[in-house]
Assembly symmetry: D2
């Protein structure tokens, strides 16, 4: 499996704030980076709406994709290369899968996927296998090569060791985004000693394992992940922005289905509304396109669409209150009625949103999402599952944490000057600690 002119005449480097430099010696990788489909990732932020909470978080998925590639490159070239359990013929396949693993992400993926029933992994596959520049470049490696890359990303590739390098509970993807998101937001939580973890990783049949002597570095990584989830990824202000975004998409779709006459026609959205998106349409979407529409729609006649778009563009977000589903369902129903009385549509302005995370889990066959556990390589050669060795990990293993919040526009409620009674009732419920 060789590429015409396999190596660049001179190594290319990208200056990267997280890994210092990203090194490219293979022409295949260089050519993939140059495709329009990969360059499109520059126009999609890594953390969606998080930049509205942490202003530094404006970095793109392009950045992250290069980072994952670089981690895999180091893992292979610096640690695995001469070990007998490692087959270096898999090298380029791994590098491509690492680089391209997020290729199918669209703008503000989370909300778009939810509202329009998309799946970025399917699009990743479609872009790799479809009529694209990416496919053309990959095919130069052999007819089957694109399919193999797609399989590694889909976790169906037969060599599970390769799969686990890209997708597992301690993979290159997570190691890059924790560090990168911490760097750009400016928080210290995402830091852990990746150099050490790389040094103690060992290729084994079916998976990457970690030498026992590196256990503490892995504990630190798992705690970093835990903190990043609750501090950054599930931050209630970012979720407030996400909530508004979702409601904009719902409203636009609803108006479209209602034959509403848009001043700015949602041309790029038609196939999304119909849920018949092809790769060609999909690749035209990015965050600049979406922001163009949202800004235009601030001037639509429909007051809900115009208001929500203005809130998103000008960062005038919803407030939030803690919500306990087992105690407060009645209050929620009461609020829905009160909102209706007040003339504020609860379908768009009263939103219950939940976040949930499992910091680490051992293997539970048959569960919804089977997670491969992290295995330690003991001095005697045995493998032991991490939570059996680490008390810290054992303590948090398998413990799902969930958080519910109720989002609402405090400004609209406070403007209810003619409906003082309703206003007071609403505020009383929202501000009561449960």
């Amino acid at each position: 499996m060789t590429y015409p002119n396999g190596k660049l005449s001179e190594e290319k480097v990208f200056k990267d704030p997280v890994h210092r430099y990203i090194h490219v010696r293979d022409k295949l990788i260089w050519d993939l980076i140059g495709t329009p489909e990969f360059q499109r990732l520059r126009r999609i932020r890594q953390l969606g709406t998080t930049y509205l909470t942490f202003h530094g978080a404006e970095h793109s998925r392009f950045n992250h994709s290069l980072g994952v590639y670089e981690i895999i490159r180091r893992m292979i070239d610096d640690v695995f290369v001469d070990r007998e359990q490692w087959d270096n013929n898999e090298r380029l396949l791994c590098l491509c899968a690492a680089l391209l693993h997020d290729l199918g992400h669209g703008p503000f993926s989370h909300s778009f996927e939810k509202v329009f029933h998309l799946d970025h992994e399917e699009f990743t596959r479609a872009i790799i296998l479809g009529d694209t520049q990416i496919n053309k470049v990959l095919s130069r490696m052999g007819k089957d090569f694109p399919k193999k890359v797609a399989e590694v990303i889909a976790k169906t590739y037969e060599n599970k060791l390769v799969v686990s390098m890209i997708s597992s509970q301690i993979d290159a993807d997570r190691m890059d985004y924790l560090q990168r998101d911490a760097y750009f937001t400016g928080v210290s939580y995402g830091q852990f000693d990746m150099e050490r973890i790389l040094r103690v990783m060992r290729p084994r049949e079916d998976q990457v394992v970690i030498k026992k002597s590196g256990m503490h570095a892995v504990e630190d990584y798992i705690m970093s992940r835990y903190q990043m989830y609750w501090q950054i990824y599930f931050h209630p202000v970012s979720r407030a922005a996400e909530v508004i975004l979702t409601k904009i998409l719902h409203r636009a779709k609803h108006l479209h289905q209602d034959f509403y006459n848009f001043k700015t026609e949602p041309v790029h959205f038609y196939s999304l509304f119909e849920e018949e998106v092809n790769v060609h349409d999909y690749l035209k979407l990015d965050e600049s396109i979406i922001l163009f529409y949202f800004q235009a729609w601030m001037e639509e006649e429909d007051p809900i669409l115009a208001d929500l778009c203005s809130r998103f563009v000008n960062r005038n977000l919803f407030q939030y209150a803690e919500f306990n589903p087992s105690l407060q369902m009645q209050q929620w129903f009461d609020l829905i009625q009160l909102f209706k009385k007040a003339g504020i549509d609860p379908d768009y302005y009263l939103v219950l949103d939940s976040s949930s995370d499992l910091p680490y889990d051992f293997y539970r066959p048959g569960e919804e999402e089977e997670r491969m556990p992290i295995h330690l390589l003991m001095p005697n050669g045995e493998l032991r599952e991490l939570s059996r060795e680490s008390e810290i990990v054992e303590a948090i293993s398998g413990k799902r944490r969930t958080d519910h919040k109720l989002y609402y526009p405090l400004d609209l409620i406070e403007d209810l000057s003619t409906k003082r009674k309703v206003k007071e009732q609403i505020l009383e419920i929202l501000k009561k600690p449960y």
Copy 2:
């Protein structure tokens, strides 16, 4: 001069990767940050096209504006506050001017200003004084307050000490952008000891001066600035992107004036083309709008517009060659003729671009751009101009460095298979070292 409810009930903080935290205690500042005009800066990158060279440089002017505010806040609250030469009544004025100094920047300012003869400083003034949310918030401080803020930014305010804090050869603006741009690109050059510089700054009549004991920190800052200019701001690959961007704008304007029938009408550009831009139109521009058009125009009939847009969007940039104006003008003229022969329009595809910088200068009255020098405060109370004390600064003082490059599309030239002779002649000229 007081604001209704001058202080927030609780200090607000923004997590910032450069200054750790940005602290806001004044309601005025908080309200300014919340205006649509200020939020718009989130959609304008601090470094324009530089992200196409340094992928980390995706940070916005919103980030930088908060940073400049924070530096001024520290300068006043931590260093100046109790000194007799400092009038703390100027505090809020300074903070506002710091926060708003870049308000008038549009998308890819440099190119837009050049092609459409705009001036971002005029727009800053117009936004502060016009019918905007910014103006409404500022006016709560008093009828004259917006005007004063505009004057500080325009450097015409009577208290030159205040002016020099925001605009001088060692001001809060430069101190923030050097550090911030270094942080996001990941280079080490922009680092200098700002903590030390702040500690040795002293307010004096007409200017901020620096205690002699901090001279070495200032030398280091000047060297950082020098390195950042040549390593980052004038990087030839970023300039290549800038060149294409400029040519897109020229082409679109030209087509408009030629009554070309756009598939995607340049609605947001009309007033730019006519050079009659009002504040209202201007505020609608940001980088997502521009990128929307560029992506749409990739499908225009006009081959030049379509090609240039595709190059910009997909990062397929021009190559460059060193150019020496005193030796190579004839070669340039030859190239123009050869490009014409080859059917490649030299107006759009052969571009001479120059960068020039003066790392530091002492005061030269009457020169094009008068620069106020940096003054050191000697132990005996005397002021001395920096280059008279520092050998390093003396050595580079007033020495303008200029760099010329010729940009061209190597791919188009290499495609000239039917015109082999012309192709060879072009390449011979371009690849000859001068």
Copy 3:
């Protein structure tokens, strides 16, 4: 309570790698730093023998003491100063206690205290209250002032809020040493967001509490502490050095009691051997003195003393094996017999050493070491003990972790060429995994 010339005419700063700068404005603090008793801390390493494992860990207690002072200064001047629950008359007392809290530490404290039954806290008290420069400087603040400082450090001072700032499960002492030891060793584990923790600390009756919104930063701090203990402080190689050091002291004391004729008389040790150490003698001890003797004793006739000193000075340490007291006691007894057969004195060359830590604990009245828990200040004003809010902390709360190791000189055993059988038996036991 005022000091003649309370403030310095100009603030003094120390460049500090951990806190950037340490700021001194009070003449009292400046004068304390200048005393011989405080300067002596420059000759005592913060981490004892750890530099033999982590070569960067050569920093002194002088460094750390300044750091604790600076954290308390920021806590008071930046966060507490204007809050009603804070009495700023306690400020200088706090600063002095912070600066002087480790004053009584001697060289390699841990081993010296164990072998000679010393207590560094008693010496701290004795130096503050005795005939010393420290006492003279403190007394200028008032006759009772030294006593108060000693009380704060001894945790007997009546204002428990003040005590908790210096000594609690989240005090300035720990916050400094975790960051500082991480910085000098170069590990990433000790990092946590101290800026954030300081910002959410609130003075309350009897204790410093933490606003609920800062809980995650505190979790991160507790995990840092956990990692630092097991990665750095209890590192088995450092413990190996500590083991040898302890045995040197035992041997020297034993020889002295045996009327051994030292070539280099242990003049500085006499009062230690007799366990009648006065402050004056104690202050003459530091690590350069100890290393002088150890180097000299490498040439003593006594082979054990000479060998152990040579091992310490030239870093020729013992090896170690895991040891499980419930399974392996018999093996230990066997080893003792085998060592005797081999002619290697097990009193000095076969050492069982245990480390044990409790990462966090809630309050358990009546227990050996009562630990004050960390309290969170909830939005409604209530206080809640940390482990009731944090799942992570709850998971590790009160769980003591203990580790046992057996230390032995592998080189001596491998030299047993004439006693091959004994050698093999010893190695078989030591190398068997349990």
Copy 4:
């Protein structure tokens, strides 16, 4: 040239705060690090008395030596290894020379060399070639190997490329100490992009050269060096400590020659006083030994020796004043007379000290200290001397900067209460700005 058991069975790493990890794969290197002569470097501070000014600067030469080794290892293994101009048979020789280049340094080298006319380079050679463990380990590589290592360090080795890696104007020695000293002092000046410089280094006949594209990184390195010299290495407070140290050594030698009866006999100093130091004696010296004597001598009868030792140990240093040799020689002579009148011995208490540095120089054959210039490798393969390409370097090239200061004990002078007139005259001269 092979070593029995050339490679370790498993790579060893040292955690290093500057280079993250120091990697050792060669048994030869591991064994050298374990020798008593190399371990002795742990007891000698890298920056002598600088820790009395910058309290973080307590790091040892052991640290630095490992760092230089690691830089050379990366230079060879990551950059040079496959280039045709590089002969990998020189690898181990380079690594040894890097590791051992400072082996002959004694305690507070600068002062000791000056007073006792020693030369640490001679001792390095003597330790490598003499009857030492270092020599034994090196000799296992072949009979000539120690000699070759000594030649590389002495710059007399025939392969000048190898010499230039360790000793030139941009060598591994300087690159390590600038970064390391900056890290431990906590200043930002010593930072430059070493990763980049390593990547653009190329082996050529007789020297390491730098690709033109890395010129700016080299400029930054040269500016770092300049700043570190004046900010750290020549800091007047450190020089004040150095001045006292020098005077202690002079006094002790003088007393010895005068048959003074020491309470604590200067046993370790005898051969120094006689200037007949052999390797064996020399290796017994380190900073703990010296500090032992200085503390003991605080109780000598001789008031000058006791006072100077107390000043050094308790950091009660001399004050300083600027001194201009061309204007102020008369004032110096006057001061000498006044000091004598006041009964303060000017030989020990009035010290003129000068520092001087040349930030970069091109080659000036025949000058006192010939410096090999840095050469850039131009795109066309040509070599050009750095200052011909870089305006910044050209500006400072060959410009020696010198600084003179007068040191004196302000406290002694202010105590001259019975000689008010003399005191006033002295102070008038010292405090007059020149």
